[in-house]
């Protein structure tokens, strides 16, 4: 007899009750109900689990949607500010250039001219990072991009005693601007370096790994620098968000990485994993044949 049914009988009729007192048909019916109930319970657990999983997926999708819409709004705002500033800057620069002719060797005027040029340069720097008008998409080998980036980063790695471990799949090809993708990776390395230094981590390791799925290429960058606090991890891709001291960070790096990956029709995610931060970039896969054909 079913364990669950035995328990139910005991509960209802007391310990002394003899199941033989029930007729066979009733017993069978009860057993059947018990079994159905148990199946139902399993089903319920399964459904609960599925609902939980779906809820998690929806939450994550919602979160990434929020992030990208927020980024779009901020980007648009920056663009408008830049536009508004260009007008007066243009006028000031023009008038200064006239005054420079009229008042030769005027130190105050030179200062105004330099400061205005500096203002101009700043707004251009801040807007250029989100610009993709000059971007040229081409197929390139992921391994080449990683090698170039490590080559650039090598000096800093040596200086700050950082070990870079590589686990790379050969011949992966993706579509985008290799220079920009290098920049995107460099930001991740450089942020890890900053975290190593500011937290005074002893054994410093960055692991870069590539994998392929049916349609995508996955690049993961893991460090052991202690991770990102939960209260800020959702904001790190926002432009001008920074946890670093003002002279060290403009808050542009990771949002630039985000934009570059997004322009390649890819996604970037961040998690606290093991004893550090794990960035996962997923971009559509191209075949090596495309590069020659």
């Amino acid at each position: 007899m079913h364990r669950l049914l035995k328990r139910q009988i005991k509960q209802v009729y007391g310990k002394q009750f003899d199941t033989n007192d029930l007729d066979e048909k009733t017993l069978k019916l009860m057993e059947n109900i018990t079994e159905t109930y148990e199946n139902f319970d399993e089903e319920k657990a399964f459904l609960n689990h599925t609902v939980k999983e779906n809820k998690k997926a929806i939450q994550e999708a919602y979160k990434s949607m929020l992030t990208s819409s927020r980024l779009a709004v901020i980007g648009e705002m920056m663009e408008n500010i830049t536009h508004q500033w260009k007008q007066p800057l243009s006028i000031i620069l023009n008038l200064v250039s006239i005054l420079k002719i009229e008042m030769k060797d005027n130190r105050e005027l030179e200062i105004i001219a330099d400061q205005t040029k500096y203002l101009n340069k700043t707004i251009l720097d801040f807007t250029n990072f989100s610009s993709h008008s000059d971007q040229e998409k081409k197929l390139f080998k992921l391994k080449k991009s990683i090698a170039e980036t490590i080559h650039i980063f090598n000096f800093q790695a040596t200086e700050h005693h950082i070990i870079i471990k590589q686990d790379l799949v050969e011949e992966l090809v993706i579509n985008g601007d290799i220079g920009k993708f290098n920049q995107a990776l460099l930001v991740l390395f450089s942020n890890a370096k900053d975290a190593f230094v500011s937290r005074d981590i002893k054994e410093r390791v960055i692991e870069i790994k590539t994998e392929e799925t049916a349609l995508d290429v996955v690049v993961s960058v893991q460090d052991n620098a202690g991770g990102i606090p939960d209260d800020v991890i959702d904001k790190i891709f926002e432009p001008y968000f920074t946890t670093k001291f003002k002279d060290k960070g403009t808050g542009i790096g990771l949002s630039m990485t985000y934009n570059i990956v997004q322009n390649m029709n890819g996604t970037i995610n961040v998690h606290n994993h093991k004893d550090g931060t794990l960035f996962t970039i997923t971009v559509p896969k191209n075949s090596i044949k495309d590069i020659h054909g």
Partner: protein
């Protein structure tokens, strides 16, 4: 013979004025530069004085009359008029409609495109074009 003229138009206050002043002082050539804040007013004046006007420097995004429309009207009256387009939307814009402005400006085939704020040697570039008509 009356002096040759350059017309400058920008709806943003003082922008055309500053451009006019800068050309007046930095240009090698001796032109009368007239500034406007309205492309409609410029067009009316151009209809009267087009024979003397050799160049029109215009902003692109303006209310009432867009740069493209103004250029079209100017060329109808004087096909060989030199056109310089200035815009603050060029180069750094990411949004698609703003990038379209860039394409549109190029399609107008102006003699010179100046992104605001102007590059340092911009008056030289204007001078080079003026040399062609001198």
């Amino acid at each position: 013979m009356s002096k040759k003229k350059i017309f400058v138009v920008d709806d943003y206050p003082f922008a055309a004025y500053a451009t006019k002043k800068t050309i007046g002082i930095l240009s090698k050539h001796d032109y009368v530069v007239v500034d406007f804040e309205s492309p409609v007013v410029l067009l009316d004046r151009f209809k009267l004085e087009f024979e003397d006007v050799v160049m029109v420097i215009t902003d692109y995004e303006m209310p009432n009359l867009r740069g493209s429309e103004l250029i079209e009207e100017l060329r109808k009256i004087k096909p060989d008029i030199k056109i310089v387009v200035m815009s603050a939307w060029l180069d750094t814009s990411t949004s698609e409609d703003k990038q379209l402005i860039g394409k549109e400006v190029k399609a107008q085939n102006p003699d010179l495109i100046l992104a605001k704020p102007f590059p340092e040697n911009w008056v030289n570039k204007v001078d080079e074009i003026l040399e062609e008509v001198a």
